[in-house]
């Protein structure tokens, strides 16, 4: 079985490190993937705010293309970005559940010779790693266990809501179990799925910054050394606005924010460059993990 891969627009700009590390990890684990040919933007939250027919049609084009590209009975489409994951999943479910939506969208698609039959299963990389590949198999490949590293896993909102998929909608544990398998110490905290405000940091900044401050402070209070995310927008908000939050609210937050695939890569023994670590504002200090005997101290 081959997975199809839907990168999404963010993974080509602000979230580039996510794509680099994800592809490197998939390669290291020998999970075969193929990029969806000529994919288009999923529409995110903006399209649904403007025009619903267009929002569904935009996402449905990707689903129809995925069906064309894969001969499998169920097409597994990996969408790493939370917004893409949700929009594709929502479109897929609504086309199945509401006949009027399905009729209207398929009439639109038929005009250009596309049709969606309902064969696509939208998957998140976390789900693929933990439920398809298996934690035992990952643990077997760990070269540098993340010993003593306290990790706060932040899932964000749209990966676990509103549909019941691979985890609980308010208290998910998939990423924490993955961290444990990599040898790290998951930090138990209650704001795992609390919204980061999404694009509010660019529009109504005061509201956006406050939401991020809450997340950062809680993770620090619980003793996290690093926060992991699985969404390019969450990562951008939490990392890039940290300085501004410190200035405005007179805080002293200093928390590295990385993608979960980056830390996975570190544990699997991949190099800094392959994982896009140089793209982070604050590199996590992991030299004690990658070089346990202290031979090269300056590597990270």
């Amino acid at each position: 079985m081959k997975y199809l891969y839907f990168p999404g627009c963010s993974l080509r700009s602000t979230g580039r490190a996510y794509e680099e590390s994800l592809l490197a990890v998939l390669k290291a684990l020998e999970i075969p993937i193929e990029e969806l040919d000529d994919w288009n933007c999923c529409g995110a939250t903006s399209y649904a705010s403007i025009d619903e027919t267009d929002a569904f049609a935009l996402a449905a084009r990707n689903l129809a293309l995925a069906e064309l590209q894969s001969p499998d009975e169920t097409v597994n489409l990996i969408a790493p970005c939370s917004a893409c994951f949700l929009v594709l999943m929502k479109t897929e479910r609504y086309l199945e559940d509401y006949p009027d939506v399905s009729k209207k969208i398929n009439t639109t698609l038929d005009k250009v010779g596309l049709h969606y039959h309902g064969r696509v299963d939208v998957r998140h990389p976390l789900d693929v790693f933990v439920n398809d590949y298996g934690l035992e198999n990952i643990a077997k490949r760990v070269k540098h266990p993340l010993k003593g590293l306290k990790v706060a896993s932040y899932y964000g909102c749209q990966v676990v809501r509103p549909f019941k998929t691979f985890d609980h909608s308010h208290y998910p544990v998939t990423m924490d179990r993955l961290v444990q398998a990599l040898g790290g110490e998951p930090v138990d905290w209650p704001l795992k799925t609390r919204c980061c405000g999404g694009s509010l940091t660019g529009t109504i900044q005061e509201a956006g910054l406050r939401l991020n401050r809450l997340l950062l402070k809680e993770a620090e209070k619980r003793g996290a050394d690093i926060m992991l995310t699985c969404c390019p927008l969450c990562q951008h908000n939490l990392e890039c606005y940290q300085q501004r939050i410190n200035r405005i609210y007179e805080e002293e937050i200093d928390l590295p924010i990385a993608f979960f695939t980056q830390l996975m890569g570190v544990a699997l023994g991949l190099s800094e460059k392959e994982l896009g670590m140089q793209r982070l504002f604050k590199k996590p200090s992991l030299s004690h993990i990658t070089h346990p005997k202290g031979a090269v101290v300056n590597a990270w």
């Binding site: 580039r16 994919w39 399209y47 809501r161 509103p162 919204c195």
Partner: protein
């Protein structure tokens, strides 16, 4: 028995007190001023005839991370929608502040798709011309919409530039330091991402006016 004269304004009161009276505004709408079918119309569109079965428990407002910035909490929006307060609902900041985190939707004991209701209200607001022109949130949505309509993909750098140009160009200067930091790390691209099958995409997306609901 003679009733005591009430301590309010009488005809022989000094004029400045009567002036004050003139500023008194009616706080309650008459039924004739409401759009009584508004609730049903929205419920029909928002995958939830369930909207009308709201029990006003307030779980949505309690779970909403942005409720303290909203002019009406989500619970109030639902009540007002149902009762037909069309102008107030469509003019509110609430519908635009909703960041679609779906927290209310999964918690609602009546299984109302509240996030979808908010989306429907946003589209309705655009359609009816209640579009708050100075608020950056709908501007961002509009710019995003236009960008994807044109190229099939979104390039974040260009999206942000057009957002700031249309709302607050000075903000662009303030954000330029962050932009530069992202740029040197290869996280902001200048070249635009484009889809090959743009013609195909354009014939799928034809509702350029927006506000369309299935």
């Amino acid at each position: 028995m003679q009733l005591p004269i009430p301590q309010t304004v009488r005809a022989d009161e000094p004029t400045h007190k009567i002036e004050k009276m003139k500023n008194v505004v009616r706080r309650i709408k008459f039924e004739s001023e409401l759009d009584l079918e508004f609730g049903e119309r929205i419920a029909d569109k928002a995958y939830g005839q369930r909207l009308l079965s709201c029990i006003q428990c307030g779980t949505c407002s309690a779970t909403c991370p942005l409720a303290h910035y909203m002019d009406y909490t989500p619970r109030k929006i639902i009540a007002m929608t149902r009762e037909g307060f069309k102008e107030e609902v469509l003019n509110s900041l609430t519908i635009w502040l909703c960041a679609s985190c779906y927290s209310c939707t999964v918690q609602c004991p009546r299984q109302i798709h509240i996030t979808d209701v908010m989306y429907t209200l946003k589209r309705e607001a655009i359609l009816m011309g209640f579009y708050p022109r100075r608020l950056p949130i709908p501007v961002l949505a509009r710019e995003f919409y236009k960008r994807v309509l044109k190229d099939g993909r979104n390039t974040e750098s260009w999206l942000l530039i057009s957002l700031y140009l249309r709302t607050n160009p000075f903000k662009m200067l303030r954000e330029s330091v962050l932009g530069f930091k992202l740029f040197v790390r290869g996280r902001l691209t200048i070249g635009k991402e484009r889809v090959k099958g743009r013609d195909q995409l354009h014939s799928i997306l034809k509702h350029e006016k927006g506000g369309n609901t299935i």
